[in-house]
Amino acid sequence: MSETSTRQVIVDGFWNNNSIFVQLLGMCPTLAVTTSVENGIGMGLATTFVLLGSNTVIAMIRNLIPSDVRIPAYIIVIAAFVTIIDLSMNAYVHDLHKVLGIFIPLIVVNCVILGRAEAFASKNTVIASAIDGIFTGLGFTLALIILGGVREVLGAGTFLGISVMGSAFQPSLVFVLPPGAFIALGFILVGVRWINQKRDAGT
């Protein structure tokens, strides 16, 4: 496991094992906040920061923590990083913090993060874990941006707040509402599977 090449870690985290498209982990923030691209970017980057921090620290202390109490110890580390980013966002990007609101503290229970801590950081070096954290996080961000983009364009006719569909376009409200999140995610998953199948058939 620890011999996995850096390139493999990056590709796995970002695409092959993408936490949303492939593992279908962390659905709560994914479905709830992606009403716009901006929310997707903010939530994705906040999660990436937490993943980087928790993976790094957990890889550092992995040999000090007895395996019986590793989960509570990981949760403490994760919760500490989430609180740090919650406070920092409140102080320095106040408007975005207001929009994401309750979903920032809820990053603690995003199972992508505990999943990476348990499956990767507890068995690998600090450097590899940090890289895994960054790219799993960026893969998560990518998924949120795609989902947010689809929902924002179809549901509000805008992309990053800029009108893109012309005035004749009648936004389809359902895509901004919760059911639209499931519908859009379903079609995106089909698309990702299709791309991967094409790719695998080609090689």
Binding site: I65, P66, V77, I84, L87, N90, Y92, H94, L173
Partner: protein, 205 residues
């Protein structure tokens, strides 16, 4: 050392380190958070109060309690905009408890004459695409309040025989806001003297 004690100690140490780091972060961000909140209030006040005030409306305040402003009996802060000793207007937040989903918080500013200057939405949880047409980035609906006073408008939505538009598919939201703004306006007219009372000189804000 027995195992359970060792594990307990290790967890305790992890917890202590985390607590220390969090305490540091909290004290480092406390100032900026307060400042960001103050800036937000100030920005909101600048957008609703009549232009030209030269005091600091975010500290020139008075808090009053009345069940018409919200149903929780919580004090409502009245931010006063003044130029020299002239009162330009007061801004305050009223809560509409009867929106479609959850409370709607509305910041309104009223001129000393009892005329609504501007109305803004601070927070709402109305349905996207229906109830949220109240927001100024969707429609101009809130502009309908500008210049209205107790006598020159019928304070109901059109469906109820009043002067204010509702939206197709969303009547509850506009109705709740119209009634809440009216309650705020009534309160303002009634308590105008108290609302514009100057801050006692020795009292710190």
């Amino acid at each position: 050392m027995p195992d359970y004690l060792r594990m307990g100690l290790i967890l305790m140490m992890v917890g202590m380190v985390a607590t220390a780091i969090l305490a540091t972060t909290e004290s480092a961000t406390r100032g900026p958070i307060a400042e960001a909140q103050r800036q937000e209030t100030l920005r909101m006040l600048k957008s609703v109060l009549p232009a030209g005030f030269d005091n600091q409306p975010d500290v020139d305040t008075v808090a009053l309690v009345d069940n018409r402003l919200n149903r929780k009996g919580k004090p409502v802060t009245f931010y006063r905009g003044r130029k020299g000793s002239t009162n330009l207007g007061a801004a305050f937040v009223v809560t509409a408890p009867d929106g479609y989903s959850g409370d709607i918080e509305i910041m309104m500013s009223v001129l000393p004459s009892g005329t609504v200057n501007l109305v803004q939405i601070v927070a709402h949880k109305e349905t996207p695409g229906l109830g949220d047409k109240i927001m100024p980035n969707k429609t101009d609906w809130l502009k309908a309040f500008v210049g209205k006073n107790q006598d020159n408008a019928k304070w109901r939505v059109k469906k109820d025989g009043g002067d204010f538009d509702q939206f197709a598919g969303a009547t509850i939201t506009p109705r709740a806001i119209v009634l809440a703004v009216k309650r705020g306006l009534d309160f303002f007219v009634e308590k105008k003297e108290i609302i514009f009372q100057p801050v006692a000189a020795e009292k710190k804000p």
